[in-house]
């Protein structure tokens, strides 16, 4: 039951919207800019993962696409996160 709700497009959309608003609010209200910026990257990666899995249906595509698309998601998040961290050191 919980698994079906989690996989439903409307539920995924609701979670994606909530995470988007959360990213902005925690950046505006959070005390530490550094932590807030890194959290923004983490939330973007989680949202991308949800879209790749549930909307693009990458898990039902050939395994190579699931691996490459998830690797791309990780690479972009690492680029933003590490790039930002290095720029403030």
């Amino acid at each position: 039951m919980i698994r079906r709700f989690w996989s439903a497009p409307a539920a995924v959309w609701l979670i994606l919207c909530a995470l988007s608003v959360m990213a902005v609010v925690q950046l505006e209200e959070g005390s530490s800019r550094r932590t807030a910026s890194l959290l923004v990257v983490l939330l973007a990666a989680i949202k991308a993962r949800l879209i790749i899995r549930h909307y693009m249906e990458a898990d039902r595509a050939r395994p190579v696409w699931r691996i490459l698309y998830n690797a791309w998601n990780f690479a972009v998040a690492a680029t933003l996160g590490i790039g930002y961290w290095m720029s403030i050191r």
Binding site: P9, A10, V12, W13, L16, C17, S20, V21, A23, V24, L27, E28, R33, S37, V40, V41, L43, A44, K47, A48, I51, I52, H54, Y55, M56, E57, R60, A61, R62, W65, L68, Y69, W72, N73, A75, V76, T79, L80, G83, Y84, M86, S87, I88
Partner: protein
């Protein structure tokens, strides 16, 4: 008998792989190009963190968030259109694609408002390195949105006549794959330009 055949066909459709191999490849190549652009941006940011942070203040987080919610909603509508195409429900395919098109147009309108505001305040691609990237990245993404809206509108116009065809179902899955990619790109562009490092 007919109902049993239809059920079997639906089961077959739900078991096969979504989209075409060519589209998965095309989208991945496009993804890698954007990854390289992001790497270049973050590399340039290393030596100019103060300039980039000061420039980010001129971007509207509200407009960026609005566009995020618009694209997320349109992506959901496209998912529903794909599910409707698999169920051979022509009316639903047309309706969901129509909403997705309207939301895509709303994204473009929002972007035009944002660009106009920047130019009116004297901000152009020549202002500094950050705004060169801002205009370049968002404009290339905007062209993807415009292309996606065109594809969605085209398949909406074909929905009533072709929804029963297996090839149409595959094409709607392909345009959906492209549209979700455009959505994912925007999630990272919003974080990259508007949020990360904002003072």
């Amino acid at each position: 008998m007919h109902g049993r055949e239809t059920t079997s066909q639906l089961e077959l459709d739900s078991e096969r792989r979504p989209g075409s191999e060519g589209l998965w490849t095309f989208v991945f190549i496009d993804m890698v190009i954007f990854l390289l652009i992001f790497v270049t941006f973050m590399g340039d940011r290393l030596g100019k963190a103060a300039l980039y942070s000061a420039s980010q203040v001129h971007l509207s987080v509200s407009l960026g968030l609005a566009n995020t919610l618009i694209l997320l909603t349109s992506s959901w509508m496209v998912v529903e259109a794909v599910r409707s195409a698999r169920a051979r429900a022509a009316g639903d395919v047309s309706r969901y694609l129509g909403i997705a098109v309207l939301l895509g147009v709303a994204f473009v309108a929002n972007k035009v408002v944002e660009y106009t505001s920047k130019v009116q305040h004297g901000i152009t691609p020549a202002t500094n390195a950050f705004f060169s990237y801002y205009f370049f990245i968002t404009f290339v993404h905007l062209m993807h949105v415009v292309a996606g809206v065109g594809f969605l509108a085209y398949f909406r116009s074909r929905a009533r006549a072709q929804t029963g065809l297996a090839v149409f179902q595959r094409r709607v899955e392909n345009v959906g794959l492209f549209w979700h990619f455009v959505d994912v790109l925007w999630l990272f562009i919003f974080a990259l330009l508007y949020l990360v490092g904002r003072p």
